[in-house]
């Protein structure tokens, strides 16, 4: 019986398998980069939006507050947040992803500051919550608080939630932590209407709070009008 082992074949198959692995790695990297570029484009768009709103605000604020409040809001911020979170989980905490997360935090702060400015000058109250969390130590309460806030945002679409990772290495975020005197032992922490709430806060409690502060109406199911 022919029991000769064709070692060359074993080697060739090995090399093919290695090249398949490398190709898969290349494809993964290629599509990963495309996603990063996509994120960058969204961020650039948001940056332009915010800058444009700021400029518009500077130009017109002296004259009229009328048209500003509508254009301030950057709806892509929420979408970007989701995509960044997904990227961190799926593409890994690479340098690029952490850079984008920093940039995102900065954009949130800018958006938040602009909203505050508008409130001061035009008395247009923007409904927002600042949310500080940590990804360290498996913060279960942070996970739960995140779920509550997502659900709250679905219920009240006008509500904006700016979320900040406590451990992010960004001086602007650190400054905000100092302003509101938030410590890592008290996470999750929320800022609603300048009040700081630490620890987990359930849906019912936050809902009452949010309704009182911002005079919200619950989102009603959409009804189709007969055309």
């Amino acid at each position: 019986m022919n029991n000769n082992i064709d070692w060359k074949k074993y080697l060739i198959v090995f090399l093919i398998t290695v090249s398949l692995f490398l190709t898969a790695g290349y494809l993964s990297n290629y599509f990963g980069n495309r996603k990063i570029n996509q994120l960058k484009l969204i961020q650039d768009k948001i940056a332009i939006d915010i800058l444009s709103s700021e400029t518009q605000f500077s130009l017109l604020s002296e004259l009229s507050c009328k048209n500003i409040s509508d254009s301030v809001y950057s709806p892509e911020l929420g979408e970007l947040g989701n995509k960044l979170e997904w990227s961190q989980n799926n593409l890994g905490a690479t340098e690029e992803v952490s850079y984008l997360r920093k940039y995102y935090s900065l954009l949130q702060i800018k958006d938040y500051l602009l909203a505050k400015k508008i409130f001061t000058r035009c008395n247009v109250k923007s409904a927002f919550i600042l949310y500080f969390y940590t990804t360290f130590d498996n913060c279960n309460l942070c996970q739960k608080q995140g779920i509550v806030l997502t659900s709250l945002r679905e219920k009240y679409p006008e509500l904006k939630v700016y979320s900040f990772d406590y451990s992010i290495d960004l001086s602007a975020v650190k400054a905000m932590l100092q302003i509101y005197k938030i410590k890592d032992t008290e996470l999750p922490a929320l800022v609603i209407d300048d009040d700081v709430l630490t620890g987990f806060h359930p849906m019912d409690e936050l809902e009452i709070r949010v309704k009182e502060s911002f005079k919200f109406q619950e989102k009603k199911p959409e009804t189709k009008s007969a055309e």
Binding site: M1, K9, L20, Q143, V148
Partner: protein
């Protein structure tokens, strides 16, 4: 901990891709040697063949099994049929004894002792140079024997020739899924045949040269897989096993998940334990591809499927936990989730491409197996059923077989 788990995962993926590529390269090397004969063939000589049909409570199928042997396209005076009732408690014996009047049929009755004892009884009475068994739930195609014998005629070194086993009369989802699996089996068996590395000589119509039993001894219990044990023994003694892809044997397959589970548990338990019994064959150059490829591949498959299942179960558990957390935190919400598809969220991690590659390779083996078994290309419904049915159930019999091996629990036949 997560990184160790990932390393194991990548190693298993690498080995699984390696196995598939190995089969593919073997296919490309030998594709011109794969012949499917559609018409009748003739042999220069028609050696005498004895076919034993061991029966235990097979009253429903044995009649048809015997008739399939009587209808073989092989000179009637060259085929001896031994019908052995292995202590059936139903009407099997009454049915088979009616065939005693045929000049080439002999009927035996013995106390129940297991299939291998029935086959050994036949071997004790063997007078011909070729011997084979046919399970009493299987039916031989009329051209099967002559095609198998043509391999012996062509190659004096061939010591056993195994046929292509395909599913008979598949009706439900479980059987359809098995049909696709058997197609895949035909392809893999052919490739292993080219490598000289077949690890099982199936009960349905594998034909042996008599010298196999003379030299190596009769059948053994082999952990209820005597057809695997004899193949291992042959490989150990470097006896060549061939696969005749165009010799078809139709077999009845389990109709329910429970029956399928029991059958596969027995097979896998048999594979693990025969491998353990013949562990000194592992990674020994002397024993060829059987030792370097077939045995490690089988073990890798068991580990990979079990591990992947564990991983998927863990991920599914995490998913359920996250849903539970949402429910616990915010209560049941009637709000419809947003189903807008965004390709951004498609998983593009590198192993996803490799898993797709493995799946494509499996589909190819099914399609080509079907081509070898039915002579035509095409996809079948069974191929669609195969993935969900086997992905969900197979890990259970694999893990149970490993568990039983540790505890030395032997699975029952049925």
């Amino acid at each position: 901990m997560a990184s160790i788990s990932n390393v194991i995962f990548y190693v298993l993926i690498f080995l699984s891709v390696y196995v598939q590529v190995f089969f593919l390269v073997t296919f490309l090397e030998n594709r011109k040697k794969i012949v499917v004969r559609n018409g009748k063939i003739k042999l220069a000589n028609y050696p005498m063949v004895t076919i034993a049909v061991p029966c235990f409570n097979e009253e429903k199928t044995v009649y048809q099994t015997i008739h399939s042997l009587l209808n073989l396209n092989y000179p009637k005076d060259k085929v001896k049929i031994f019908l052995i009732d292995d202590g059936s408690t139903d009407n099997t014996y009454e049915i088979i004894s009616k065939f005693a009047q045929y000049p080439n049929i002999e009927v035996f009755r013995k106390e129940n002792g297991g299939k291998y004892t029935a086959l050994n009884l036949a071997l004790e009475h063997l007078e011909t140079d070729f011997f084979g068994g046919l399970d009493a739930d299987s039916f031989a195609d009329p051209e099967s024997l002559i095609r198998i014998m043509s391999y012996f005629e062509k190659d004096p070194e061939a010591m056993a020739v195994v046929p292509s086993v395909v599913v008979y009369n598949f009706k439900n989802t479980i059987q359809n899924a098995q049909q696709a699996e058997y197609y895949m089996g035909v392809y893999f068996k052919k490739m292993l045949g080219f490598l000289g590395a077949i690890n099982v000589t199936p009960g349905p119509l594998t034909i042996f040269r008599r010298c196999v039993f003379k030299d190596l001894g009769f059948y053994r219990h082999g952990h209820n897989t005597e057809d695997m044990e004899i193949a291992f023994r042959m490989q150990k003694n470097q006896y060549k096993i061939e696969h005749c892809n165009d010799a078809y044997v139709y077999t009845n397959t389990p109709t329910t998940v429970r029956k399928l589970y029991r059958q596969r548990l027995r097979w896998i338990y048999g594979f693990i334990n025969n491998t353990l019994d013949y562990k000194n064959l592992l990674f020994r150059k002397k024993y060829g591809n059987f030792s370097i490829f077939t045995l490690p591949m089988g073990m890798i498959s068991i580990v990979s499927v079990s591990y992947l299942f564990g991983r998927i179960a863990y991920n599914f558990g995490s998913f359920l936990y996250s849903k539970f957390l949402v429910f616990q935190t915010t209560g049941f919400s009637f709000a419809s989730p947003n189903f807008n598809f965004d390709p951004f969220f498609l998983n593009i991690r590198f192993f996803v491409f490799l898993v797709i590659l493995i799946y494509l390779s499996i589909i190819f083996s099914m399609v080509f197996g079907k081509k070898m078994a039915e002579g035509r290309w095409g996809l079948s419904l069974g191929m669609v059923y195969f993935f969900p049915v086997f992905s969900i159930i197979a890990p259970f019999w694999l893990m149970k077989a490993v568990y039983n091996t540790f505890l030395r629990r032997k699975p029952a036949w049925r």
